[in-house]
């Protein structure tokens, strides 16, 4: 039996994103952010996007390009502290921002990927993060109903992949990638190295290829993936 080949071009995979789509983007800071897929999305031009990402990167990097191009209408995130443009756009009302506690964002995405409708948590009880959310009592204590998150498309960065879309991540570039890779109708992964079937040991695979729809090889990495030299 031979597994299907899901290799495709970056542009070909991105072309299916439509105006108004919800797009999850992996990464925490630079590590794990799919910079090349983001550039392809900028070139593609889909607008009114809802972006789900831990952070908004830094000016001139990653998600910031989508902010600059005006393609984002809503951002579901945890922290924007390193991107003053994102904060300015939020304060000016040019984008809507929904802040989540970081682990709760992860858990909502995991629920979306696991076919679960919501998670119950006491995180945020008694703070403004509970505002507007359903609260239920469980074992005598109030719990917030944190609804599952799914996306139309997820953009994933992997260190290595095979042609079936099995993925392996490295170091702190893993972060939200394996969670988001389970939580979208169409999952597009860019890989620094694309291996033939069998190139990844079955035990070394972090995301099973069943979750992944398209995989593309990056070739030479752009400077945006490099170590950030802050002043």
């Amino acid at each position: 039996m031979k597994l299907p080949d899901k290799q495709c071009s970056l542009e070909g995979a991105i072309a299916r994103i439509r105006d108004g789509d919800t797009v999850m983007i992996g990464g925490f800071g630079v590590p794990g952010t799919p910079m090349a897929l983001i550039h392809a999305l900028v070139a593609h031009g889909a607008r009114e996007l809802t972006i789900v990402k831990n952070d908004a990167n830094e000016p001139g990097m990653g998600v910031d390009h989508l902010l600059q191009s005006g393609q984002i209408s809503r951002l579901i995130t945890t922290h924007l502290g390193l991107n003053s443009r994102a904060i300015d756009m939020m304060n000016a009302g040019r984008i809507t921002v929904e802040f989540n506690a970081q682990g709760i964002l992860a858990e909502r995405i995991r629920a979306g990927g696991a076919g679960v409708g919501a998670v119950l948590t006491d995180i945020g009880i008694g703070t403004e993060l509970a505002n507007g959310k359903q609260v239920v009592e469980l074992a005598g204590k109030p719990h917030i109903v944190e609804t599952a998150l799914r996306a139309d498309v997820a953009l994933i960065h992997a260190a290595a992949a095979d042609r079936f879309g099995n993925l392996a991540f490295v170091a702190t570039a893993r972060n939200f990638n394996p969670l988001m890779a389970m939580a979208a109708d169409c999952v597009i992964a860019e890989a620094e190295t694309l291996l033939p079937l069998g190139g990844l040991t079955a035990d070394a695979i972090h995301t099973a290829g069943v979750f992944v729809d398209h995989v593309t090889e990056l070739g030479t990495l752009s400077k945006e993936y490099d170590v950030v030299r802050r002043k």
């Binding site: 630079v30 945890t78 924007l80 502290g81 490295v170 394996p178 030299r229």
Partner: protein, 218 residues
């Protein structure tokens, strides 16, 4: 450059970390505590972006582009380090695997309420992992200057800013003192060398319970 007072605060806070602990050091002042830990102390440092066993911070020319802490600093591993995804990382936090977290603060109330993530209209970058750390670490201590830049107390009867978590703070390390939070409110535990209990009380925006004897210094 840090003042001598802040440096003493960091050195004192470092002594709060006991052998065998799993510890998360928050962004800002708490991260600097790492420079005051003995190299041979057996401790596991956790960072919420997916690493236990944080090694020394590296300069750009030696950094691994895929290896940062939650504040974006390039760090390294130690023998026995582990990487994991963000859900696993916060499973550790929420299920009580962290013995201690050290966090920064805008305000701490005498009942242990903490505000450290938002100043409406001025500063609202998002809460990141702060709520979960504050609410679920087994022990939460705060590192902060005793007063803000204008000299206003950061230790108050009540927080006026949006809360991170209620009643979570056990102890506060400042450039003036070590203060515990008890049923009686703020209790002075130690003062910085050269600072009097009366000076600490003056700089605190809520009643401060003083010990019977002169408190130890740091």
């Amino acid at each position: 450059m840090l003042s001598d007072a802040n440096d003493r605060m960091l050195a004192r806070a470092a002594r709060e970390i006991a052998p065998g602990m799993v510890v998360n050091l928050g962004i800002g002042l708490p991260t600097k505590v790492i420079n005051h830990l003995p190299a041979d102390l057996p401790v596991c440092l956790h960072t919420e972006n997916g690493l236990t066993g944080i090694g020394p911070t590296l300069p750009p020319e030696r950094a691994d582009r895929n290896l940062i802490d939650a504040g974006g600093a390039y760090v390294s591993t130690v023998p026995g380090s582990a990487f994991f995804d963000s859900a696993t990382s916060f499973a550790m936090v929420r299920s009580g695997r962290l013995d201690l977290t050290m966090l920064g603060a805008f305000e701490v109330a005498s009942n242990g309420d903490l505000a450290n993530w938002k100043i409406p209209g001025r500063f609202s970058p998002g809460v990141g992992g702060g709520i979960e750390l504050a609410q679920k670490a087994r022990r939460v201590v705060v590192l902060t200057t005793h007063t803000d830049r204008k000299g206003n107390p950061k230790l108050k009867r009540q927080c006026t800013l949006p809360l991170t978590a209620r009643g979570c703070v056990a102890r506060v390390f400042t450039d003036l003192a070590v203060i515990d939070i008890s049923d009686r409110g703020f209790v002075l535990v130690e003062t910085r060398d050269g600072v009097t209990a009366a000076e600490v009380a003056d700089a605190t925006g809520a009643p401060l319970v003083l010990p019977n004897a002169t408190p130890p210094t740091f």
